[in-house]
């Protein structure tokens, strides 16, 4: 949780306290107020205890912090993380390129197709990654599209698979963003001023989807960085298989890597919050699991 988030939570609790003090039970401790605090602390413990446990476990390596030092000195750590980040960024770009025009067109011209598009974008929740990756391998490991014959081809295949995995998150994020504006009027206003579809999409619609796209992009990146099954079966040097492999030989280091990747996730969230500042839209993270 960011500092801003903590402040807002604190304000929320203060507001709740204020509300409670207006009740007839003024002057004595309200059971309702106690209940709110109980829920709050239960949430805090539920969230932080596993992190604390992982940290304590990672510190059992001797000398102190050696697990962290070992990880940070391991070139495979940077290699796998860098690979996953690059694949993640390409995935985000392809996903935005597919989902923004699709969601825009569905909202503008084909509203009746919306349930069908939503259904298709939800398929990754129904089809397990292992089924998806076997389907990809069996289809693209021979002519006429032998993707798996080269490293570049396998990486491309992995990226396509990740694009499919990102559908539910990216589509929902974009759709939520589009729902917050009057797409039809904005499009027609731009058209009446002489704008073509490219200009409308890039200069009118996309800038107003900034926060929604950041939300979708963050979720996509988080999925790609942590994904294990597809990267393993396509034999790609991604972060997921690296983390799993580390656990079988260096358990303390694995705990350290888990915390480091968690820290990176927080930094990414902070970055999104920073970029989203000044925008009237709120960051809406949808479809997160």
């Amino acid at each position: 949780m960011t500092m801003g988030g903590a402040n807002r939570l604190g304000q929320g609790i203060e507001a709740m306290q204020g509300k409670a003090s207006l009740t007839p039970s003024k002057g004595r401790k309200s059971p309702l107020r106690f209940g709110w605090w109980l829920i709050f602390w239960a949430g805090v413990l539920y969230f932080f205890l596993p992190l604390l446990g992982t940290f304590v476990f990672s510190m059992k390596s001797i000398p102190l912090f050696s697990a962290y030092v070992g990880v940070l000195q391991d070139p495979k750590f940077y290699g796998s993380l860098g690979y996953s980040f690059i694949v993640g960024i390409i995935t985000i770009a392809v996903s935005i390129g597919l989902m923004v025009p699709t969601a825009f067109w569905v909202r503008l011209r084909m509203p009746r197709a919306r349930p069908y598009v939503e259904f298709v974008t939800l398929m990754p929740f129904v089809i397990p990654p292992v089924v998806l990756v076997f389907g990809l391998i069996s289809t693209y490991s021979h002519a006429p599209l032998p993707f798996t014959w080269t490293d570049m081809g396998s990486t491309a295949l992995l990226t396509f698979g990740y694009v499919v995995l990102s559908f539910p998150y990216m589509y929902r994020a974009v759709d939520t963003g589009l729902r917050s504006m009057d797409v039809q009027s904005l499009t027609e206003a731009a058209q009446s001023l002489g704008a073509g579809w490219f200009r409308i999409l890039f200069f009118v619609i996309l800038p107003n989807l900034r926060v929604a796209l950041l939300s979708g992009a963050f979720l996509t990146l988080a999925i790609v960085v942590g994904e294990f099954t597809m990267a393993l079966f396509l034999a790609r040097p991604a972060f997921g298989p690296y983390l799993a492999n580390l656990g079988s030989t260096k358990p303390y280091e694995q705990a350290a890597v888990a915390l480091i990747s968690f820290g990176l996730t927080w930094i990414a969230m902070g970055f999104i919050a920073l970029l989203g500042r000044g925008s009237r839209s709120r960051i809406t993270v949808t479809g997160a699991h």
């Binding site: 027609e188 731009a190 001023l193 704008a195 009118v204």
Partner: protein
């Protein structure tokens, strides 16, 4: 000379819904034309066809002699102002106004100059850097108007631009829109369901109902000489009374057993026909009136105070038809106004010019909903 012309325009939607049927209009350069009608009458659909957002099922649209019926919206040079303003949220006032010029790849200096001119014209000085969400509804609509005017469109289209604003701002803005339109001499089509807006702003008004044109005329013609019962009932307040024709040539008719006459001969009617007479409340006076005026007597049923107006409801005797009719008359409110008591028998008078027969009303019964001082 015709500048904007709509010929035989039709629009049919899926499921056989006829939104617009045989719409014809010729507007001169610089003319301000309003489409007036209730919701669902096809006025916005017609406007959207001029803008290019809807394709007509049949008919043609020409601007300055050029057929634009099948041109894309961004190829028409038609400016549009929306009810919801439709300002681009990611752009400030100056960027919104300059958007159309940027699309046309005009030099930056020219864009800046034009934006400054329009900001001054719209009284938006000092707000160039503000974003839409930092402005009031009225200010946003000024920006929307400036943005539409920036591209110097051949035709300006306004789709109920003031309906989301409060009454006071609406009145101020409609004056400003009209003043700017006159100043720039731009041909304008204005869609509204507010009769006051249409009558006060327009050179001509097109009254629409159920997808077809009921009447096209100047505000005065529309108000004073409605050609159909719908126009009469939709525009202003009107008494619709059933009358029996005594002599069509001299315009003599009987209302509730009392003889009156119209200023014009009843060309479509014959003696013995039953017709619908229209009578404006403000054309009727309490009392005997001058020599030559029509007179009707009845019982004062009610007195209503409407601020500056006092509205009296009078019940006429049943007469030949056997149905008692009611008429309304309006008087200016005056603290010293001496009014008869409710229940008293009073006489009202009006000039023959104040009553007229509605076209096509011969033998058609007075609509139940409008027979007593229809008001919409």
């Amino acid at each position: 000379m015709t500048f904007l012309e709509l010929t035989g325009i039709q629009k049919h939607f899926a499921g056989g819904v006829v939104a617009v049927d045989d719409f014809n209009l010729s507007a001169a350069r610089g003319e301000f034309v309003s489409f007036l009608g209730p919701s669902g009458c096809g006025k916005t659909t017609t406007l959207r066809m001029i803008a290019g957002f809807e394709q007509p099922t049949a008919g043609a649209i020409t601007v300055d002699g050029l057929d634009i019926t099948h041109r894309a919206p961004n190829q028409r040079n038609v400016g549009m102002v929306f009810q919801s303003y439709a300002l681009f949220p990611n752009m400030n006032v100056a960027e919104n106004i300059g958007f159309g010029l940027k699309v046309r790849k005009r030099p930056k200096a020219e864009i800046a100059k034009r934006v400054d001119e329009l900001i001054a014209l719209m009284h938006l000085e000092g707000r160039a850097d503000r974003y839409p969400w930092q402005m009031s509804g009225g200010q946003q609509q000024r920006v929307a108007l400036a943005r539409a005017l920036a591209i110097e469109p051949q035709v300006l289209l306004l789709d109920e631009p003031l309906s989301a604003l409060d009454a006071k701002i609406r009145i101020v803005l409609r004056k400003e829109i009209r003043s700017i339109q006159r100043q720039l001499g731009i041909t304008t089509v204005y869609v509204t369901h507010d009769q006051e807006e249409a009558l006060s702003m327009s050179d001509r008004v097109v009254v629409m109902s159920d997808g077809h044109v009921e009447q096209i005329g100047t505000p005065s013609e529309i108000y004073n000489f409605p050609s159909t019962a719908f126009v009469a009932s939709f525009v202003g307040t009107l008494n619709l009374v059933e009358a029996g024709v005594i002599d069509a040539g001299t315009g003599r008719v009987a209302v509730g057993g009392q003889e009156i006459r119209t200023a014009r001969a009843l060309t479509d009617a014959r003696a013995g026909d039953r017709i619908t007479l229209a009578l404006r409340p403000e054309g009727i006076e309490l009392g005997e009136g001058a020599a030559g005026d029509n007179r009707l007597s009845g019982m004062l049923a009610d007195i209503g105070f409407l601020g500056s107006i006092v509205r009296l409801r009078l019940t006429l005797p049943a007469g030949d038809s056997g149905i008692a009719r009611e008429i309304f008359l309006d008087m200016f409110n005056d603290p010293n106004l001496a009014l008869p008591v409710v229940g008293a028998t009073v006489t009202v008078s009006f000039q023959p010019e104040a009553c007229f027969m509605l076209t096509g009303s011969v033998g058609v019964p007075v609509p139940v909903a409008t027979e007593v001082g229809a008001e919409v």
